[in-house]
């Protein structure tokens, strides 16, 4: 999988840093990256897709600590799920705003654990961007439904959404 540089995820740094005050530096996406946590929201309406925020538990804890104004090693698992779900919501909302048409967002879902896989039928990867934050890698994938009249970059087929 190669990194694509379409504009669809340009809003990610502003959404992340504006919420958490944690700077992001863009880096090349590597297909060998392995997510310990994935948070995602579905985009529903004229255009349908999925925004997936992936990273390590260490980064998720650091982001959660920033949200709750407490040390990363003091946050509880439920707080991590809550905070990362909200980050998927904020990022999904920012990404959605850049895609023409009338759309809504689903409530967020958070998946944690090594070797987790999430599959959504009839979705194809449109673009992915990776960033360094707090010494860890954060990557965001945008999937689009194969039935969308407007295609952003996907090639069709069912793909693994997060792993």
């Amino acid at each position: 999988m190669s990194q694509t540089t379409g504009p669809w995820l340009d809003a990610v740094p502003t959404a992340w840093t504006g919420t958490l005050n944690m700077p992001l530096e863009e880096v090349d996406f590597s297909p060998t990256l392995h997510a310990e946590l994935s948070a995602f929201v579905q985009v529903m309406g004229d255009w349908q897709g999925l925004v997936v925020v992936c990273g390590s538990q260490a980064l998720a804890r650091a982001a959660t600590g920033a949200m709750f104004e407490m040390p990363a090693d003091a946050v509880e698992p439920a707080m991590v799920r809550d905070a990362m779900g909200e980050m998927a919501n904020v990022i999904g909302g920012a990404v959605k705003a850049g895609i023409p048409g009338t759309k809504g967002l689903s409530l967020p879902t958070v998946v944690q654990g090594d070797n987790h896989d999430v599959y959504v039928p009839d979705m194809a990867l449109a673009t992915v961007r990776a960033f360094r934050c707090n010494g860890e890698t954060l990557w965001v994938k945008l999937f689009e439904h194969n039935s969308n009249a407007q295609r952003l970059g996907g090639t069709g087929g069912t793909q693994e959404v997060a792993a």
Binding site: M67, A83, V90, L107
Partner: protein
């Protein structure tokens, strides 16, 4: 002033309360609820001066909360704090009787400007 913050995310309620503090509302009374139904009951019992509500919440969402309040003739100032910041959504919340919409991510300046 009593401000009621409604969001199913505890993390986001923390961020809204922090932004309120930074915007100069730290010495005001800030109450909160994690869903629209709890908020509706609390607001009916004792209407605050301002409600800041998320849009997407399980059960009763923010728009339904606003509609229920307006049906009950509770004219509390109501603002959305939401990812739904498109012009279409801004018009929709205005039509529903909201006073303003603050798009996430937001700053304390945005909160201050909206509340006035």
């Amino acid at each position: 002033m009593r401000i009621f913050v409604v969001d199913d995310s505890m993390a986001m309620r923390m961020l809204v309360k922090r932004a309120l503090r930074e915007a100069g509302y730290g010495d005001h009374t800030i109450e909160e609820a994690s869903n629209g139904k709890d908020a509706l009951e609390a607001i009916r019992n004792s209407p605050p001066d301002l409600v800041l509500s998320d849009w997407h919440m399980p059960g009763m969402n923010g728009l339904e909360l606003l509609e229920e309040l307006r049906k009950a003739n509770i004219g509390v100032r109501f603002g959305f704090v939401t990812t739904e910041g498109t012009p279409e959504m801004r018009q929709r919340v205005k039509d529903a009787g909201a006073d303003f919409l603050i798009a996430k991510p937001f700053t304390s300046d945005a909160i201050k400007e909206a509340i006035g």
